[in-house]
Structure formats: C-alpha cells, structure tokens
Amino acid sequence: MTAPVAEEPRFLTYPGARRPARHRWVDSYGVRLHVCEWGDADGPPLFLVHGGSDFAGTFDVFAPLLADAGWRVISWDHRGHGDSDHAALYSWDADVRDALSVLDSTTPDAVPVVAHSKGGGMMLQLAEALPYRLSKLVVVDGLPSRDPAPDVSDHEHRKFTQKTLAEWLDHRRAAHINLRKPGTLEELARRRKRMNPRLSDDWLRYLVTIGARRDPDGWRWKLDPAIRFGGFGPWSPEWSLQRLKGLKVPLLGLTATVEEEMGWGTNHRALLPYLPPQAEIIPFENTGHFIHIEHPHRVAELVLEFLR
C-alpha cells in the first residue's frame, strides 16, 4: 500500500473522503488480494465492487456514507489493480472467482453487493453461478446494452482488425519489460482526466496518492502494465442481458445519461425487455459513468433505502 507522502500533503485529503478503517489480505488460489473495510467490524457486511482499471480507493467518499449508517463496508482491489498482486493471467472468470474468495473470507451467508461498471457484469455472473450467495444487488452504470463495454479488457471484445490484433500481440511480447509511464502527480491526474472528464481535479489528484506509487523517476499507476484498456475477445452484452432475465434477487440499477470514455452507454429503455420483475432502474440526469462519485449522497440514500 502507498505510504503517506509527506511531500504532497495537500492531496492526501479530499472533502468527505475517508481511508478504510481496516486493511487485510485474501489469498485467492495464490493471488493475494488487498481488501479494504470501512465501518464497524461487527456490522452487517455490504460489498462494493469496482470497475475495470479502478481500485477500491475510488470508494473513499461513497463507502463511509454507507459505513456511517451501520454497515461493515468491504471492497477489494481486483487482481492486477491497486495493491493486489499482479497476476500471470487475467480473465473475467478469474475476477469472479476472486470476488467469491473475498466473500468467502468474510461470511458464508447471502450478502448485498453494490457494483460499478464491469463489477456489475461480474456480479450478474456470480448471481447466476451461485444464486444463494447474493441477497440484493445494486449495479451502478454496469448493466449492459452497448457493445463493446469500454473498460472490459482483452478477452471481452469481438470487434477487431488485423492491426489491433498485431498491436495486442506486440504488447504481449514486451509485457515482461513494460512499465507504466512515470509522471508528476499532476500529470497522472491529467491523464486520468481524459478518461474521467467529469471528475474534479482535486478528486483525481487525491486518487493518484492511492492508486499510484512513487518511484525514483516519478509517479506510476499501480495497475499492472500487462492489462490493456480495450481489446478483443468473444464477449457479447447479450450474455449479460440474458442473465438479467433469470436474476432472482432484488435489483436496483442506476444508469448514467451522459456518455463518457469509460461509460457503458446503457440505454435503460433497451434494458426493459430483459429486466426481472423485481428490478428497478433509475436514470441519473446529466450524470456520467461515475454516478457514485458525482452524487455520493444521493446514491448512498438510494442504496440505504433499497437495503432497508
């Protein structure tokens, strides 16, 4: 984990942000996962799942709002993300298996889950594979209806050309020597801004102090350089849509209405034919992909009401 950075004290805090009360590690079949917890350790567990290229620290404002309502809020860095191990292999199925390892490390009981972006798709798969494991599901701009979903890497896109394939393979040939590009804290925040244009500069600078590490030649995002944004592979939003039909747990879906680089472009009307009867979908007007960061209090209110 990133040690406090004395030289950058002004970015170590953000209004409303609170670092986790506890950190622990979970061994998922040899891959070490970094787990964060906010709130009372004896409270009922509530899981938060981040999206592709993100990390648990992105919940630093949202999670405390849920923790302060009495929940033991638990999140983790996916393999290759944040402070979790960089793995030899990455796949959607491995991410779902890792998620189950974190759930199993906490409780054998059915648990409520709030999942953002790709995390939502992962949880729909978990809900299909082991329906008894979830009690309620909130998906924050992670319900499918567009192809491809932009934050899903490597194995999950279908559209590709010979050029993109060759570029991907060139990247793989050099993966063992690749490093993320170093930069100042400000530069990393600016790079992130290109992907997250609606998020404030102060918030992005704060994220750098958690999601990046400082090497002698500058700051680098901790995300495994072997993980590439975008890609190709046999994936279809239709598969997740079909899963939606069979979902048995209550579902609350929050959808963005402003298209963004990392957004899923979910059209909530296109979702309607696939929704199970117990589902509720709430579109957020004039809001981008990171709904829980743009409107943490409103999303927390909705989630707490839904979990009641």
């Binding site: 998922s28 079949y29 040899g30 891959v31 393999r79 960089h86 793995a87 030899a88 292999l89 990455y90 796949s91 199925d93 491995a94 779902v96 298996r97 890792d98 189950l100 390892s101 798969q125 978990l126 299909e128 594979a129 082991l130 490597d154 194995h155 279908r158 590709f160 050309t161 010979q162 394939l165 060759a166 991907w168 393979l169 793989r172 040939r173 993966a175 063992h176 072997a226 890609g231 190709f232 592979g233 046999p234 279809s236 598969w239 079909q242």
Partner: protein, 215 residues
C-alpha cells in the same frame, strides 16, 4: 534442446525437436497435453526444423497461481514462440489447432500456414456461456494446471468471432489457402471456419507439402 521464453510472468518452454535449415514448423499441443520429446511420425517428412511449445500451465512451462486462462493469452504464448523461431508453419492439435488459427489471423505475414488437427480442447465451450465455474480447483500449481483444463475446456468460441480470424488469415496472408483443416472433428466454430473462402480440407501430408514451399 529446450529454451525458456518470457511471456509476461510466465516462462514458456520451447523445445527444438529437429534443428536444421529450411522451412520452420511450430507444433502446438492439445489441452492437457505437452510437447512430444521426439518428432512425431506424421511430421517426419517435414523438410526443415521443428519446434514445439508448451503452453502456459502445461509441460515444462510455468504453472501460474489462480488461473485466468483465455485462448487469447495462449495465442500470446504461441506468438512469443513465433518471435523466437521466426516465420513458421504452425501445426496444432485440438486446442493447439484453435490457437494456431487465431495466430494465423493475427500474424498472417509470419504464419506460413496452419494445419488444424483433432485433439482435446478443439471444441471449447461453444457459442454462449453455460453454468459458470467460479470456485477454485484442487491440484493447482502442477502441470497440466487444472485451472487450464476447466477454463480452456469451457472457453467460448462464438462462430462469428472465430470466423473473423479465418477471414483475416486468408485475406492478409501472402500465400494461398493458409488455413488447412486436417482432422475429422467439426465443432460449430470449425464448421463456420470451413465456410470462409480459401480455407481448405485436406490431409496433413498435403497441407505440409504446400506450406513447406512457402519457406
């Protein structure tokens, strides 16, 4: 002779089964298998050097922790092998045949031709996801990796997706008919590949004779 090649965090074993000059051949094994120790009888007639690669989690290659196998990662394995051997004909059994096809689509200038043979792991998981296997499997960290058997045995191969690789191979290869189907198994994706103009069905011997001329 065996050399180890680095593919991300995995060391891949590349075996030289026959050293020499002339056209190169890269052999890719089936799911759960490993490279043979000697030149298989059906490749005896090949006029040049012959190499065989152990995929991640197989043979003498690294067995990584925690699974996460995809056919695309194994295509990366084969491509790292191809970078070491130089342009080559690829012969693949079962899963290795599927991976060889992907590689032929991605590197049409370096794969002289691919011969797809019957064998374990040729079919994969079909067109759509089935019941997902998400828990771990016992016996991991020994080859063949049980995670590989489960994940690559159920790896999805939608027809349109796979067909695209065959189209890229036939359209971008400087050689005629670079994809040869030499076995009898016909999973749905392979039926779709056979519909692509330029993909041929022929005995392995005939395919090797053609590919050897490509150098």
């Amino acid at each position: 002779m065996t050399v180890f090649l680095q593919h991300n965090r995995v060391k891949l074993a590349l075996h030289t089964l026959r050293d020499g000059t002339g056209p190169r051949l890269l052999l890719l094994h089936a799911l759960g298998d490993r490279s043979p120790e000697r030149v298989p009888a059906e490749l005896e007639g090949w006029p040049g050097s012959i190499y065989a690669l152990d995929f991640t989690g197989h043979g003498s290659s690294t067995v990584p922790a925690g699974g996460g196998y995809t056919a695309e990662a194994l295509m990366g394995d084969a491509d790292v092998g191809l970078a070491a051997t130089g342009p080559a004909t690829v012969v693949g059994r079962g899963l290795g045949g599927y991976i060889g096809l992907l590689l032929a689509g991605a590197r049409p200038g370096e794969v002289r031709g691919v011969a797809i043979l019957d064998g374990p792991g040729l079919a994969g998981g079909g067109d759509r996801p089935g019941p997902a296997v998400v828990r771990g499997v016992p016996g991991a960290l020994s080859a063949p990796d049980p995670f590989a058997l489960v994940e690559l045995g159920s790896d999805l191969r939608p027809r349109e997706y796979v067909r695209r690789f065959a189209v890229l191979a036939t359209e971008h290869s400087p050689y005629a008919n670079p994809v040869a189907v030499c076995g009898r198994q016909r999973p749905a994706w392979l039926e779709a590949v056979l519909e692509v103009p330029g993909v041929v069905e022929e005995p392995l011997e005939a395919a090797l004779r053609r590919f050897a001329v490509f150098g």
